[in-house]
């Protein structure tokens, strides 16, 4: 505690009274497990977030395997319906709060300080706290599966009255674990936003910031704005279930529809929290491998900000069939369709960046290209769902499942994989196993489409979501969906192998720039990046 680590800039260093402190700060860090438990280093914490997210991705994925095994054939085969509901619920919660969000936070930890020329995150101790809350929160959530009466079985959206009147006792554990996850997210977001606003190197003006930094700045704002609303929603569920309030019960003057309004006021910005950093990642990767500057940088920034602002006024498009006045349905329909404009700007700019570029197809670029095509498919099915009268047909079918898995798996998750492949040589100083990584890409790409594309068809034909059994006419498609699911799950084990090999520093050493066309501060520093990146503020021209 006594010894503060300092980094002295050249202008002030010599005259500064505090520079008697040790300038070489690596050697008094604890080793072994305590290094990770106590770390305040943004790179260590980034690594912790990323490995935690990956482990949760595998856990949540295992639950998806249970779901697909049950749905392989019609009829109840393997699990009880109540357990099936627990699997869909916890799969969703883990993937959203345990995999995608921590993975993006891990990337922000690793990259934001390096990209803006900062020594570390602005509030390093709070950074440690934000991370270490997460393993505890998910321990509680997973333990709730073993409570008498079963774990949460009301879907990740925990609609009342499913989560109030009809839920098990474990709901209390669910509520409190979501509370501390929220505390973790809010602190993580405050850290990112303060780092970006306050810690940029001299000359790193707003419109020179890399797009990954821009998208995370806006994401952090969304997180601080809506995670407290989620905390409010779970609190009301808790008091309704256990303390006799009736926020979501008409008999006491409340309204179950009100739950959906509050939840989706959180939930829709949450969706963009899970995709805006992905936009940033793709905007970093595409210029590198097209060897051209990003087309329309400023319009990318404005588009990101527009998407974030619009995300606050579209929430009820999740509730078109729930019961709203026609005027409200129309408002939310048009507001939602408006989002396709800034999103279209982004896709256009990525394509325009590649136009006449000197393209090469390294692994990060493969994932980025898959992202652009497949995320756009998910975006277009979202546009279909936005049309109120049409949504009456699609609502709560597998079409919706297909839509949000295209934007979250081939969108968010593919972008995370692209980012890891793109930056991991900088982190470890070694090139990953390219052959295996290409196997990972092609197996994932093919299987993910076998998995999710037929869901459009069964959904349009009327197969409802969140059921353990289905009508016979859906049997053939579901067999293929399940096979695709198993293949996609197995493909991620290749990723695990590539990552373990990379973290063991197997592979060829890489140059500082790693990729020929890479631009940005993080590529100017040595590979692997030193423990404290910038001892002196870099000059940004």
């Amino acid at each position: 505690m006594s010894k503060a680590t300092e980094i002295i800039s050249p202008e002030h260093g010599a005259a500064d009274p505090h520079d008697t402190h040790d300038g070489h700060h690596d050697h008094h860090a604890p080793s072994g497990i305590m290094r990770w438990v106590l770390t305040t280093n943004h790179k260590d914490i980034g690594t912790l977030y990323l490995w935690f997210a990956f482990i949760m991705f595998l856990v949540g994925g295992a639950m998806a395997m249970v779901i697909r095994a049950e749905l392989f054939q019609p009829g109840l085969q393997i699990v009880e319906p109540n357990f099936f509901n627990q699997m869909t619920t916890v799969h969703g919660l883990i993937m959203v709060f345990g995999a995608v969000m921590p993975a993006f936070t891990g990337l922000a930890n690793w990259l934001v300080p390096m990209m803006i020329g900062a020594p570390d995150m602005a509030l390093p101790r709070m950074n440690n706290w934000s991370f270490w809350i997460l393993p505890f929160a998910f321990t509680i959530l997973l333990a709730s599966l073993f409570v008498e009466g079963g774990g949460p079985a009301f879907g990740w959206t925990f609609y009342a009255p499913l989560s109030t009147t009809y839920s098990g006792d474990s709901t209390a554990l669910f509520v409190f674990s979501v509370h501390i996850m929220g505390i973790s997210s809010i602190m993580g977001a405050i850290n990112v936003i303060v780092t970006i606003v306050n810690m940029r190197a001299p000359g790193m003006t707003w419109m020179k910031m890399p797009l990954f930094v821009w998208t995370w700045l806006i994401t952090a704002f969304l997180l601080i704005a809506v995670m407290p609303v989620l905390a409010g929603a779970v609190t009301m569920v808790l008091t309704d279930k256990f303390f006799g309030t009736s926020f979501f019960d008409a008999a006491g003057g409340g309204d179950p529809v009100m739950f959906q309004h509050i939840f989706w006021f959180f939930g829709h910005p949450e969706v963009y929290i899970m995709i805006l950093p992905a936009f940033g990642i793709i905007s970093q990767i595409v210029p590198t491998f097209a060897r051209k500057p990003l087309f329309g940088y400023a319009s990318m920034v404005y588009a990101t900000a527009s998407i974030a602002l619009l995300s606050f006024i579209v929430w009820a498009h999740h509730m078109f069939t729930t019961g709203m006045p026609v005027a409200a349905e129309m408002f939310f329909m048009f507001a939602t369709m408006l989002i396709s404009v800034p999103t279209g700007v982004k896709v256009f700019n990525w394509v325009a960046t590649m136009w006449r570029g000197s393209m090469t197809f390294e692994v990060p670029m493969l994932f980025a290209l898959a992202f652009i095509v497949l995320f756009t498919i998910g975006g277009l099915s979202g546009l279909m769902l936005a049309i109120t009268p049409v949504d009456f047909q699609y609502h709560d079918t597998y079409f919706v499942v297909a839509h949000f898995h295209y934007v979250l798996v081939t969108g968010a998750i593919f972008s995370i994989m692209a980012a890891v492949y793109y930056w991991i040589p900088k982190w470890t100083g070694r090139m990953f196993d390219v052959t295996l990584a290409k196997w990972h890409f092609w197996c994932s790409l093919i299987s993910v489409n076998v998995l999710f594309f037929p869901m459009h068809f069964v959904g349009l034909a009327g197969m409802p979501r969140r059921i353990p059994d289905y009508a016979l006419q859906f049997a053939d498609f579901n067999k293929w969906i399940s096979l695709g699911g198993f293949a996609f799950g197995l493909s991620q084990l290749i990723f695990l192998v590539v990552m373990i090999k990379a973290c063991r520093k197997q592979g060829e050493p890489v140059s500082d720039r790693v990729w020929e066309g890479a631009e940005g501060l993080e590529w100017e520093i040595p590979s692997p990046a030193p423990y404290h990146t910038f001892e002196t503020p870099p000059v940004v021209k």
């Binding site: 300092e6 405050i190 009301m236």
Partner: protein, 292 residues
């Protein structure tokens, strides 16, 4: 953005964050089990785990702040770091605003949409006729659709007195801050002391009001949406006043020890921002929960 670049300051490692994570774990596990056990009427360890967690959290806060204060007093912090603290505190308060926003949202939704619909407004005549015959939408909702009756809390009396107390406390805290900035330590001590006393009186009167509600008015947490929003909004606000009073008390003790200078007093500023925020929430509460 700073033009003159100072040294980068990167704080050393600390045990407190992991202690804080364990404390939150114990609080969540304890609270969850406590709720489950009390619903089932079983004896269990939930309450004990919760208590240990809260205690550990308090120890963590005490220790963490103590380290921060020592580091700050020994002049380790750069301007950049104190700027980070200011911005971090502002965003924290913004997140608190959104938390209250969820409950105010519930209040407005219930008053302007849910209750009129239950009473047959818009195209909901059959909802009223078939499901809740005879139900009349009104606010405060003194008779729920399910038939639970209660009495409304009047804004006159204690709530008005409490509003005045909190508004005055904001002013006294402002003068304490002015005293700090002009290095008038007596004014600082006196005004900060008065603010803390006012906070305590507010909390005492709030407890009185709750007892009045439960004993005389039959207004409880179970009294339907009126009682729900009333107790959750005022209850969470009361928790924030309690926290604010504790923060101000810590600041008061630090003032007595001679901490803070006219130029460097981030902790004081953060505490006063928090107190003003809590006041603004109360004004909103007074208008929308009590008066209108």
């Amino acid at each position: 953005m700073q033009q003159v670049y100072q040294k980068y300051y990167v704080p050393a490692q600390s045990y407190w964050p992991i202690v804080g994570a364990v404390a939150l774990f114990l609080i969540a596990v304890g609270a969850g089990n406590f709720v489950i056990e009390s619903t089932r009427g079983e004896a269990g360890y939930g309450g004990n785990i919760l208590a240990v967690g809260v205690l550990l959290l308090l120890i963590m806060l005490f220790g963490w702040f103590k380290d921060q204060i020592n580091e700050s007093m020994s002049g380790l912090y750069s301007d950049q770091l104190s700027q980070s603290y200011r911005q971090g505190m502002s965003w924290f308060i913004f997140s608190e605003v959104m938390f209250f926003g969820a409950f105010f949202g519930a209040l407005f939704y219930a008053r302007t949409i849910a209750l009129p619909w239950l009473g047959g407004a818009s195209n909901n005549a059959m909802t009223n006729e078939v499901l809740w015959p005879g139900f009349q939408a009104m606010w405060p909702l003194v008779e729920t659709p399910g038939g639970v009756t209660t009495t409304a809390m009047s804004w006159a009396g204690l709530p008005t007195i409490n509003t005045i107390i909190l508004l005055v406390s904001s002013v006294t805290l402002h003068f304490a801050h002015v005293g700090l900035e002009q290095n008038k330590r007596k004014q600082l001590t006196a005004m900060l002391g008065v603010t803390i006393v006012l906070g305590c009186i507010f909390l005492f009167l709030q407890v009185e009001e709750y007892m009045h509600a439960y004993r005389d008015l039959g207004l409880t947490l179970q009294s339907g949406i009126y009682g729900n929003t009333f107790f959750l909004l005022t209850g969470f606000h009361g928790m924030h006043v309690t926290l604010g009073t504790i923060i101000l008390t810590v600041l008061f003790l630090r003032v007595l020890k001679g901490h803070f200078t006219p130029d460097s007093h981030f902790a004081f500023q953060a505490g006063s921002w928090y107190w003003h925020f809590v006041d603004v929430v109360w004004v909103m509460l007074f208008v929308f929960v009590y008066v209108l």
